[in-house]
């Protein structure tokens, strides 16, 4: 891929992000931050490439370190988002509670 096609993907993705994020309900802004945190750890791809490559031992260990950090985020981020989202519940059936 040349630079311009990559840039095009990037610019389009910014627009998609803009519209998608505005549609997120304010009540879910905290889970939004947690999940964006988790997905930004896709940087693990770069970390894996670094740790997989032969050539520079230092680069390899840095890569492994980055894999650990990103994994904390991936597992922690998705798990904590899941935990939060499970708490959001609608009003339970109106029956039972006496109205006026």
């Amino acid at each position: 891929m040349d630079f311009v096609s990559i840039l095009s993907i990037f610019v389009m993705a910014c627009f998609v992000g803009y519209y998608v994020v505005w549609s997120v309900t304010p009540a879910l802004h905290t889970p939004l931050m947690a999940v964006t945190n988790a997905i930004s750890s896709v940087i693990v791809v770069g970390a894996l490439i670094a740790s997989a490559a032969a050539g520079s031992p230092l680069a390899k260990w840095l890569g492994l370190g980055a894999v650990v950090l990103a994994s904390v985020n991936i597992f922690g981020g998705f798990a904590v988002t899941e935990r939060m989202l499970a708490m959001y519940k609608k009003k339970d059936k109106p029956a039972g509670k006496g109205g006026k």
């Binding site: 990037f10 889970p31 997905i39 490439i49 670094a50």
Partner: protein, 476 residues
Amino acid sequence: METHAVNPWVAAAYLVAGVCFILALRGLSSPATSRAGNRYGMFGMAIALVTTLITHEIASLPEIIGAIAIGGGIGFVIARRIQMTAMPQLVAAFHSLVGLAAVLVAVAAFLNPDAFGILGADGNILNVSRVEMALGAAIGAITFSGSVIAFAKLNGNMSGSPILLPARHVINLGTLVLIIALTAMFAVAAHAGPGESPLFWVVVALSFAIGFLLIIPIGGADMPVVVSMLNSYSGWAAAAMGFTLHNTAMIITGALVGSSGAILSYIMCKAMNRSFLSVIAGGFGADAGGGGGGEAKEQRPWKRGSAEDAAFLMKEAENVIIIPGYGMAVAQAQHALREMTDLLKEHGVNVKFAIHPVAGRMPGHMNVLLAEASVPYDEVFELEDIQSEFAQADVAFIIGANDVVNPAAKTDKSSPIYGMPVFDVDKAKTIFFIKRSMGGQGYAGVDNDVFYMDQTMMLLSDAKKMVEEINKSLTD
């Protein structure tokens, strides 16, 4: 300029991962679809991980699996154990990890460019890649050190009040300009083989410093903006590394996260009627508690209420609106508060929650705490949706909030919070205001006329204790 061939299937897999991440955010448009969205996110991440593992020559699979297991295990345990009130700190800590990971990846790419396919034929790293790498490392470093400070402030390891260095604007601007200039020099340097140019290291070091310097002057209540901003940076760092690796999943994700954080910062700034620049410049609330509002210094009469008064009046009320703020989180009063609403509902009272966008220490902080206490999300309302209902409200119950109900924001042009949208609590027939004491004045350090209104009763106590007492009188 391309040195490595991209397998179209691999590119397609990363694209699918990117689309899954878009769907993950899309799901958050409503609580009903949000969990499916989160699954998409996990699925996308699994695709990205597996694709990378099977398409690269893995020198040491056990080591990599071990690294994922260690990191994943730590993350999972933290996610299980963390208290919901500590969510802002947790998010800040997670941001710092993304930032540091980005720096490590950029440094690894700098030391071993061949593995990333960015080594030119002349033995130097490609010029464009140098810019992307340096930017990725710089943004990552800023994210890291900034998030560490934000974490320390939110977690109470460091005072939440702004720390103001003399000439900080000059230092900060100078450092930023220097980072950009050095990045440009690095991009065109004649000798830039693997690990060769010292300019790269200077850029990284300066970026760590600037992240630190940028956040220390920013006070606790501006943290929602800071946390959102660092969220955005962590995205841009991932995007920059995505450019280096020509990886669509990273680029799409980076753009999504970057815009998400930027939009949240914008929403937070607007909810405080402050410009992004003024928040970043910091120092707001520096003299909180010191000077206070000038003309409000003389003792004004106010009424003290009791838990019994509150219980009695709310029981008889038709509509009650509860306005929670950071104080509720500090006192962990959300569960007691939910109990109170249940008791009131048994008396046929219509109870609603009103949430200001900047209530708490991060966007949506109050909503999560109320959800944790099993308050149904359709009883929780945003500012613009509930504003008109205060006129019909019999009771406005303010717990741990202050600036977001201060009418000075509407009337007093000289007030630091002037122009900030606030709840029209003064339209309610009765106001209960839970506060620790009459001494402390909101974060902005301004006096609040609501304290002295005829229909206001101050409930001076710890928020949780007061609500528990009210619950006791409600059940009697």
